[in-house]
Symmetry: C2
Subunit: 272 residues, 2 copies
Amino acid sequence: MNKDDLVREIKQKQSFLCVGLDSDLTKIPKHLLSYDDPVLEFNKQIIDATKEYCVAYKPNIAFYECMGSKGWETLQKTLDYIPKNIFTIADAKRGDIGNTSAMYAKTFFENMSFDSITVSPYMGSDSVLPFLNYKNKWVILLALTSNEGSKDFQYIDDISKNKLYQNVIYKSSKWGNERNLMYVVGATQLNEIKKIRQIIPKNFLLIPGVGAQGGDLISVSKIAMNFECGILINCSRSIIYSSNGYDFAEKASFEAKKIQQKMSSLLLEKII
Amino acid sequence: MNKDDLVREIKQKQSFLCVGLDSDLTKIPKHLLSYDDPVLEFNKQIIDATKEYCVAYKPNIAFYECMGSKGWETLQKTLDYIPKNIFTIADAKRGDIGNTSAMYAKTFFENMSFDSITVSPYMGSDSVLPFLNYKNKWVILLALTSNEGSKDFQYIDDISKNKLYQNVIYKSSKWGNERNLMYVVGATQLNEIKKIRQIIPKNFLLIPGVGAQGGDLISVSKIAMNFECGILINCSRSIIYSSNGYDFAEKASFEAKKIQQKMSSLLLEKII
């Protein structure tokens, strides 16, 4: 999917919500366990319930890989079930030497047809470039994450007082452009997001950490949005596990709609 | 596998060779394509041909993931075929927020029974700690890699003139110890390896980059070895693709033996 299509979808749905499919066999409602593929059934019902209100789905690959070869089938079937107008993110955080990153790109972009993949920057350019060779596919590079451990290395100042995550953005922004490169920026880091927008005013940001991890949707959006929206806000657990009963899909729909309505107001303020 | 067992194996075989199973359907000998599972057949013959001369096998997960759900079956069968006295490394370079890293740990340590997994440090402590909770399992953390892109971020000096990779080692060495934490250090960085040995004299180092990537076995080993060997040197392509014909296993055996003999001399010099 290209940027124009993504922006069009955001405008039409008045939403920049990404629903994270961190679907865990031990957490989904018990009544689904009688299905042949309980996680697939869960995902299908979550997708049906939320697809009106979101513009992206982000399966967390760990949760599928954990089920072995069957998990990969569930992942593929989930991907096939997602409507084609919705942006898909393989949350895989891959990154390796060139020939290996090329294999990962082939897996997620050719074999599985994801629109994008999250990539870790630690190994540098040749670990990222193979993913950028695909037309209308995206790298979503880890910059500033929302977890506790983000403080360990991402904030280290260099001798010019640039933090590591800023160096990651400076350097990598020359490898791609705003049509094939997004960044992961945690919602819990409001001051930092301001600085990030100065470095990369045009790139999309994928923002986790709203909801379960404590970030506030409205404050983060106001700081992070650009002239064409430019952000995707991910919510996983707060939507997909909002009920553990027979009404899980209905509750997920309700939570997604509530967020979409807030997003619609935010977009209206920006006249997007 | 614990450290004592690994060191015993090194002494018995007089080898610290790790064979990288970067097994690629497009690169294995053509006559294997008639098998039901050509990559598995290739791996089995490579393992039979090299198991006398190496102490570790390192399947590169990208090459299996690329084949979809069947690839995961091939990976499991390959792992089952590796003799139990040989250390196994899932070269997966995972790393995510705590609950996701816990899923990856479950996949590779419980479901698949790998002895160790390579992990990327970018997301910090909570992305690494879940892997360290397993007894007799190992994290092999990326520190200084051997690829071109390693220069992009790993060498960035902080205000005290510590490079990022040194900060990764300083900080992470407190999360684990020499019985559950190894580091990836590229063979092409001799001066840096000296400095690394001053920070972590006891931890094992997994050293890629000998052979195809240009590192020299003897110089790197002399600098990196410690009192109980303390290094695993990985060779992938230079062993497993040393012939493309019917003699591929024989040639792989010959290459592995040649390396083992050099390693034996190096171990004798150190009286290990």
